[in-house]
Subunit: 734 residues, 2 copies
């Protein structure tokens, strides 16, 4: 595949609301994100978001209970780096502006915008804003403002500083997906030189600190009161760079001022190298629909922008594009986003899993709080590893996150073969989650059958809570318990001491094996399908007269008790297990299940459609697969959920990649064999993508009558194309 | 039975902690209550509680949801009426005191206490405090302080005023049974004469107002700086009276100062007449255990003190003896306390039901909020009729309160025959609750069977939440639907227009009949018992290693998710249904159920033991019945739950009366026949009590070999004694 430039512009997006555009054109690098706030009119609640930089506040409950999550953790909305104060020499302040154009180059990461700014007295000027965020080096953001005359062509005074955001009031909202504002942190700002400002921030409760610098790079420029004269009718260039330091636990100022003097062009070149690597390892192209091709590039671009890369941060539910869901990490990472990284940037995938490993102590503590004496229970939503979900029926009760993380570790190992990580961290996570299931589950004797069950849990479907034997949960726990045995066998061969250090005995493994074999998987004899849980299928369907669009999403219109008593699902649940374990059921059962669960699913969660797309493809219903995919692929670009202003739906971005790769091309790795099956919908003329399995870089090309897998580099790979083992291709080494 | 004096003294109670004694010796009259706070050392958080006088505050949720209860309603802790400020002429303030004796005369309602007060400089005096609260007239409280020399025998300066309580901080507690403090109301106080103070209180949010007056009745006495000289070594008597007006919605001052000049003796005489009537209609005596006999009298005394009598108030969970549970009304009234009133003071029972009728509009509104389009859903906990439960799984999900209220209406009608109330109010409540069930329930086809089910509900057992087909709930709903049909038949005969006004059609009634016939009642074929719900019996039992006393009550030691996944009950649930519907099951099944459910019940709720006592008696296990009864009968007097300081366990007080009457004497009225069965435990030599059925006053006398029912007054009654229809006694009219 040849590299080609992809540009996202205002013509490609679904709304011109400033808050929406701020999200869509946000730049980020895993460490921090800068929303594309209008540099003149600004937005008091949005600015810079640093991954893992959060404030805590006590959670207040109407009626508190033992073991409830104690502290909110809310990502801090920091100073708006993009703001520029411009006045005429007569003191006329430019307060309004209009975004005339925006161009996000997905190949280079550069954002170019065009504004017309207007003073209160009606003078107008033109501003071009070029900005980019460091990628190979993740601690800086650079901007160039090019000022030109419009109806005003006289002298201007320009000031720029990192300002404390305007006091924002706490936003109380019944919508849990909205931004929650934390108290403002302590800020200290100082101009250490006319062209350099230092900005220190320390949170009050969580005791985290970060230091920012802002430098004006225009020769002889000053941050404050810099004069520009437009009367020459020439464009005037103003260059700035911001440095965003690492999050530290103490308010320490590094005495060394960071180097902030590269030219914008140098930085852009360096950035371009990063993005070229991203696309080289993970290019994905769709033929027959340019806007869709663009959307996929955008999704992959934002995935890469959002993932923490330091092993101490993860991917917030909204990335670093907005503060919805408070900047928390959920199971979204492991189940919807990690596959992309595992297959294209395994080192980044490892760092994301490393984050979970470093919060394992908190997860152990949480298991104790939940009355489970062994193992670890990862927090449902968190930044610092402690549970921050204030509504346990759709929070802590989603125990499945434990098995999700274990699944991801197993998948990472399967694809990358990174034994080093397994031995150091991965096995311990799989072990501690397996121990949790072993202790949390309970035996139930039914006739001659001994069933190992998990009671009072909530599965992925948050419209059904506190049920017994959620199929997804049980199936995933079974996998968790099988995986620990499998990995322990490997460890016994390669590193038996590690097993001893972790106090794993052969009896433990036999016990895990026994439990896994006895885990109950609910099945309906009536419908011949796996049952979402013990009672789901016998509940009545959601009333037909409450099916009009203004009733959705249900969670914003009905009390949970009303929703829970119906057979209605927010998102893929049993379907998700079916996607993950394709060998569990034959195509007929899959078809029955698909038809059944599709009929009771509202897709009120952005995590739902990608799974339905993948399974429709697997079932050969490529038209339906395409329809679901189109909703996932362009969800934020068309503002499908209506709340993109709060941030991108990151899991869905990952899901859209999965829908292409695991869906339309049926890609999966099983027992060392790469499987590809052509499910290309007729609306697409071609699909091609690159990914890496082990050390082998593969390129997959699909068209109506083409299914081709090429080895780009690395050792031989066994491939099965369209289910024909005979088609295993001989692989030539480069 | 002859009237005899019962006195509760410090020797009869289980603790000498002041907060505990304040509860135990509290005086109330349904309108307001006065905790027996030490008059010298006081207690900033406890004073006067007015039934239905509450403040609201927004409920804050960690994560809010649609339809959640919006406002806390918290009974206001008002000024301490008992406080007295005493200094020596040298300004030595008496700050400490010791309660040397207390005597609560249950026959007259008079409380006499003896204190030794001590100044900071060590001077001591003796104070006798005689106090009583109006009963026939419920708007006053009177007190007499008799001051005598102790080591100090000189002149004193005495001041008394209704003071604003010291600012109390909001108490945040993980224990939902604790007092929650509301913000302090606005208070305005004025001395309208040297011996008269007016005290106006208006709540800030709920906009309720009440006016208090305090008057010094010692001839020529002044409230402030009244001089008493103990140097004559004579006791000095200081008389005061307080007036507590009705709760009004506006801050209006009645220009007429209430009459507050009766002598303490006159008031005591009037009060004694009230209590004589109470005992005449509801005397209950136990032979063989004087302390138990006293306890029963105490319980009945406090029941009478606590019940609102104006049709606009009810019985707070802690009566007016403490502000635990925020002064809220629960199902406790209908299911545990109302029977006593129905049988002994039907007019008071009617007023309690009238309260529910006047909040019917709020209940209709609540049903709408819960997605149910017809009927009414009464609030689980409330003062003003709106839902105030901030934890819906053990709040709003306890839909059974609807059927409980309907049951109480039916029971009231059965026993009193008060058709007037049924036609005016009762039928409408039964109708609206029936309509709720009809709309809330859903059909479930199981083979050939059509079952009408109630899903995602919580039964009485709060250790099991959000389950399907809770037996108690379903059985009670069935009764509710049967009752509406039965009452409608009567109404059709007597008042067909009322039926039309309420839009009740024959088709509606046929529908209710059909639903009632199809309501699913879960039954376990394995155990041959009614199943508490669809999943309860298949859950594992609570782990044996968590059975030590320091794990109880479970709700204060375990996360709800931990408790809910075990087969463990906080209180009688299916057992309660068995008690209410004795004809539902034969003695063998009852025995099996009793044995089974007793094994999984912790009795962490004070509402549990009385039911187990009644059923043990019915099963003939009088020894066990006695043991449970002893825990209920003396629960607060021995501080069994350890939290009597927060207020009396009112429902349990009612339960102990039920245990005697419905348990030991097997009393119930069925199809117009009064049934009495002798289940007297051998620890008791005798049991006798009075009650009223219809217009007939009955006296029941039990001893080991005696079972006698006498008609004291009123028309003939059919009686069945010890199951012998032949023993129907001829009744002589007085």
């Amino acid at each position: 595949m040849t590299t080609q430039d992809y540009h996202l512009t205002l013509r490609d997006v679904g709304s011109d609301r400033p808050e929406y555009l701020e999200t869509i054109f946000s730049l980020a690098n895993g460490h921090f994100g800068v929303r594309a706030t209008d540099p003149i009119s600004g937005n008091p609640i949005s600015g810079t978001l640093i991954n893992g930089f959060y404030e805590t506040a006590p959670i207040t409950y109407g009626e508190a209970g033992v073991g409830y999550a104690k502290q909110h953790q809310t990502i801090v909305n920091l100073a708006d780096l993009r703001h520029l104060t411009i006045t005429t020499v007569n003191g006329h302040l430019f307060t309004a502006s209009k975004r005339l154009a925006a161009d996000l180059n997905l190949t280079t990461g550069k954002l170019t915008e065009q504004y017309q700014a207007r003073s209160q007295q009606g003078e107008t000027i033109q501003i071009t804003v070029d900005s980019l965020i460091g990628q190979n080096r993740d601690d800086f953001w650079a901007v160039r403002y090019t000022l030109s005359a419009d109806n005003y062509a006289g002298p201007l005074v320009v000031s720029k500083s990192i300002a404390v955001p305007a006091a924002a009031e706490a936003i109380a909202s019944a919508d849990p997906r909205k931004t929650r504002m934390a108290g403002l942190p302590n800020c200290k700002t100082a101009f250490t030189a006319p062209n350099l400002q230092r900005y220190q921030i320390q949170t009050k409760q969580s005791q985290l600190a970060v230091t920012l610098y802002l430098r004006m790079n225009t020769p002889a420029g000053t941050l404050l009161n810099y004069r520009v004269d437009l009367s020459d009718n020439q464009p005037h260039v103003l260059d700035y760079q911001a440095y965003v330091g690492a999050v530290s636990e103490f308010n320490t100022i590094d005495p060394v001022t960071p180097a902030l003097d590269s030219s914008l062009e140098e930085l852009a070149d360096d950035n371009q190298r990063f993005w070229q690597k991203v696309w080289r390892h993970g290019e994905v192209r769709v033929g027959g629909n340019p806007s869709l091709d663009l959307a996929i590039h955008y999704n992959v671009f934002q995935l890469n922008q959002s993932a923490g890369r330091d092993g101490r941060t993860n991917i917030p539910a909204k990335g670093l594009s907005g503060s919805g869901y408070e900047g928390h990490y959920f199971w979204d990472t492991e189940m919807f986003m990690l596959p992309y990284f595992i297959y294209t940037h395994p080192q980044m995938a490892r760092q994301l899993l490393q984050y979970r490993y470093q919060v394992l102590p908190q997860a152990r503590e949480r298991a104790r709080q939940m009355g489970v004496e062994h193992g670890a229970l990862f927090a449902w939503r968190t930044i610092n590893g402690q549970e921050a979900s204030a509504y346990y029926p759709a929070g802590t009760a989603q125990y499945h996150i434990d098995a999700d993380i274990a699944y991801a570790v197993g998948k990472y190992y399967d694809v990358t073969g990174d034994w080093d990580f397994i031995a150091q961290c991965g096995f311990e996570m799989v072990l501690e989650t397996a121990r949790f299931w072993a202790d949390f589950g309970t035996w139930h004797q039914v006739g001659d059958l001994r069933r190992f069950e998990f009671l009072t849990v909530t599965g992925p479907d948050e419209y059904t809570a506190l049920v017994n034997n959620n199929y997804y949960t049980n199936r995933m726990a079974k996998h968790n318990l099988e995986l620990v045995v499998q990995l322990a066998d490997d460890l016994a061969k390669h590193d038996p001491e590690r097993l001893m250090d972790l106090h794993v005995t052969p009896a433990d493994l036999a016990h895990f094996r026994d439990l896994a074999a006895h885990i109950y998987l609910p099945y309906s004899q009536d419908y011949k399908i796996n049952a979402q849980d013990d009672s789901f299928l016998s509940k009545p369907h959601w009333p037909a007269d409450r099916m009009t669009p203004d009733n959705f999403p249900l969670l914003l219109h009905y009390h949970p008790l009303t929703i829970y008593r119906y057979q209605v699902a927010k998102q893929a649940d049993t379907m998700l297990a079916d996607y993950l374990f394709p060998d569990d059921l034959d195509p007929e059962q899959l078809k029955r299940e698909y038809t059944y669960y599709e009929g009771v699913t509202t897709h009120d969660s952005s995590l739902s459609r990608s799974t339905f797309s993948i399974l429709a493809a697997r079932l050969g219903d490529t038209e339906k697969a395409y329809r679901y995919f189109m909703d996932t692929a362009r969800m934020d670009l068309v503002n499908l959920q209506g709340n993109t202003a709060d941030g991108l739906h990151l899991a869905n971005l990952g899901g859209s990649w999965l829908a292409l790769v695991a869906g339309f091309s049926g890609f999966h790795v099983q027992a060392g064999v790469v499987h590809v099956t052509n499910h290309l919908p007729q609306e697409l003329t071609a699909l091609s993508y690159r990914l890496t399995v082990g050390k082998s870089v593969l390129e997959v090309n699909l068209a109506a009558d083409v299914t081709r897998v090429r080895l780009i580099s690395g050792p031989s790979v066994h491939v099965s194309v369209n289910g024909r083992p005979e088609s295993l291709i001989a692989v030539t080494k480069n």
